[in-house]
């Protein structure tokens, strides 16, 4: 417990302190003023939020579809579940190296596949064009975490009592009706938790960006984590980096609060219904 506090709570507080210090150790708000008035913070915030929202949205939808399939009975279900763990278990940094190869313009297979299949008119450039680099990050992130989302959602699906479906069958409900009236409402708590996990993870993404695009081209894929890292440990702008880190921490607290409120009000709706 003591180690834990020294190694995680203390640095958090120290970051706050550093963000308030100027170059000679005096206390000042200059760092925050700098950070807030410059365009960089807002741009990276925008990129980070955009990345987190888009990738989480894709992951939830595809993950849910996959979870529904995994919830069926079929031969080889266990094997498929095992296969699903593989993208999750591979280090993001390592996989990013793999993606870097797969997405290469001239000899990477993926752009050529798109071209050969007639999906794009020419071989697309993935990592060197700003928009495409952003899309590359999303592809890589979605690929890696869809299976993870699917497994979490599957656990939620398996908690829905079978009797509900049987009762619905007797009442003559169709499968779409069953999905909307039983599955979806009962899955809301699981969905919220999975959403929270994924969103916060995507929000703090570092390794994928660092290895795959390095925040570039330009600063077009610079997420908050990468920006803070670069500021504090490469450019040694400690005050500025710490101020950005504090802003990021505030974002996270904000997200956590929103989720808390959401869960509370959801709970109330349930009680009202029951």
């Amino acid at each position: 417990m003591a180690i834990f506090f020294v190694l995680s709570v203390y640095p958090l507080l120290r970051t706050l302190q550093l963000s308030l210090q100027g170059a000679r150790g005096e206390y000042t708000l200059k760092n925050f003023i700098n950070v807030f008035t410059g365009p960089a913070l807002w741009e990276t915030s925008r990129i980070t939020v955009l990345f987190a929202v888009i990738s989480t949205a894709f992951e939830m939808v595809i993950g849910f579809a996959f979870a529904l399939v995994l919830n069926q009975r079929f031969f080889g279900r266990k094997a498929l579940r095992t296969i699903f763990l593989i993208p999750w278990v591979i280090p993001t940094a390592i996989m990013a190296v793999g993606w870097k190869f797969i997405l290469q313009h001239s000899y990477g297979p993926f752009p050529w596949l798109l071209y050969w299949l007639g999906i794009t008119k020419e071989v697309p450039y993935f990592l060197i064009m700003p928009k495409m680099a952003f899309i590359s990050l999303i592809i890589a992130d979605v690929w890696k975490t869809v299976p993870f989302c699917a497994l979490l959602l599957l656990a939620g699906l398996q908690m829905i009592p079978e009797q509900l479906y049987e009762a619905a069958d007797i009442d003559g409900a169709g499968s779409i009706q069953k999905f909307i009236l039983i599955t979806l409402p009962l899955m809301i708590p699981t969905i919220v938790v999975t959403l929270m996990f994924r969103f916060l993870q995507a929000f703090g993404i570092f390794d994928l960006v660092w290895v795959l695009t390095g925040g570039g081209p330009g600063d077009s894929t610079l997420t908050l984590s990468v920006a803070i890292y670069r500021e504090a440990l490469r450019y040694i702008n400690i005050g500025r980096g710490s101020a950005m880190a504090v802003v990021m921490a505030i974002y996270v607290v904000g997200i956590l609060t929103v989720i808390r409120v959401m869960r509370k009000s959801l709970g109330k709706i349930y009680e009202a219904k029951a």
């Binding site: 417990m1 180690i3 834990f4 020294v6 190694l7 995680s8 709570v9 203390y10 640095p11 958090l12 120290r14 970051t15 399939v69 069926q72 079929f74 080889g76 498929l80 579940r81 296969i83 699903f84 763990l85 593989i86 278990v89 591979i90 280090p91 993001t92 940094a93 390592i94 190296v97 793999g98 870097k100 190869f101 797969i102 001239s106 000899y107 990477g108 297979p109 993926f110 050529w112 596949l113 071989v123 299976p147 497994l151 979490l152 656990a155 703090g204 570092f206 390794d207 660092w210 290895v211 908050l224 984590s225 803070i228 504090a232 440990l233 880190a245 990021m248 921490a249 996270v252 956590l256």
Partner: protein, 280 residues
């Protein structure tokens, strides 16, 4: 006529195959590229089917970068980080579950979990300075300690739920018999917790093995790199003749142990993942 049921079944299996392909297609291309002679990895358009076969990439990668050293580093920091987290975490969880007052324990647990949600980068620089002043940069301890700390929330969480599920009569009976708290922990609680410990242990190990940011920051000597850092930094070192074949061979070598872990322990991993995530 084919019955409706058969059509449904065929549809289901097609979806299943699509899902498996979804998870595995990048590996096909990586495997393919790693098994071909280096110069073929530079053909444009790329050769996406196995045209020639060689294992030379797998041998050469050990020569061009100290991959075996990286593997050793990763094994050392991940195993000790995991063990330390398990040790500290189960003690912590035991205290929260059995020793201190309920509401106090819950506050501690909440605090742990909330801290666990913060992105690591927020605390990175002070941690870096701390490690520098303790002379722990480029030292295994410099990664083991923070890894243990960052895995503590999950460990404490899972272990607390586990200890809560053990009947407190066990604990009370042992007290009556005059056993000390540590004896109870050692002789009664730990043996009953082996499965839970194994589950968290596997998850911790994987998260240490996959960690990137701290390893990148604290290990600056290239012989101290862990596999994740070692392999991903190669990209920066070559400007011409980027040895893709070898790098990809390296990434696959690093992946193999993890896939084996998954194959052996998939039930445990899934139960641990869902327990850790869904009860929160």
């Amino acid at each position: 006529m084919i019955s409706k049921k058969t059509v449904k079944k065929i549809g289901l299996y097609i979806t299943v195959v699509v899902m498996a392909v979804y998870c595995l297609w990048p590996f096909y291309f990586l495997l393919n590229a790693s098994l071909q002679p280096t110069k073929m990895a530079y053909q444009s358009p790329p050769v996406i089917y196995p045209k020639a076969f060689t294992l030379s990439n797998y041998i050469n990668v050990f020569r061009s970068i100290p991959l075996s050293r990286y593997l050793l580093n990763s094994v050392v920091v991940s195993s000790f980080g995991t063990l330390l987290a398990l040790f500290a975490g189960s003690l912590c969880a035991f205290a929260i579950s059995k020793l201190i007052k309920r509401n106090k324990g819950e506050v501690m647990l909440d605090l742990l979990i909330i801290v666990g949600f913060f992105p690591m980068v927020v605390a990175l620089f002070p941690l870096y300075k701390l490690m520098r002043s303790l002379n722990l940069l480029n030292n295994y301890l410099g990664l083991i300690l923070p890894y243990a700390a960052f895995n503590l929330p999950l460990t404490v969480w899972v272990m607390t739920t586990h200890f809560d599920s053990l009947p407190s009569e066990l604990y009370d009976a042992a007290i009556v018999d005059g056993a000390s708290v540590f004896k109870i922990f050692n002789k009664i609680m730990l043996p009953l917790s082996a499965p839970a410990l194994a589950t968290v242990g596997i998850l911790n190990f994987i998260s240490c093995w996959n960690e990137f940011m701290l390893a990148l920051t604290f290990m600056t000597n290239k012989y101290m790199y862990t596999v994740t850092v070692g392999l991903s930094l190669i990209s920066g070192r070559f400007t011409f003749q980027f040895p893709w074949g070898e790098i990809i061979a390296g990434t696959l070598i690093v992946t193999v142990p993890l896939v084996i872990v998954v194959l052996i322990a998939q039930e445990k991993i899934i139960s641990g993942l869902t327990a850790g995530a869904l009860k929160g």
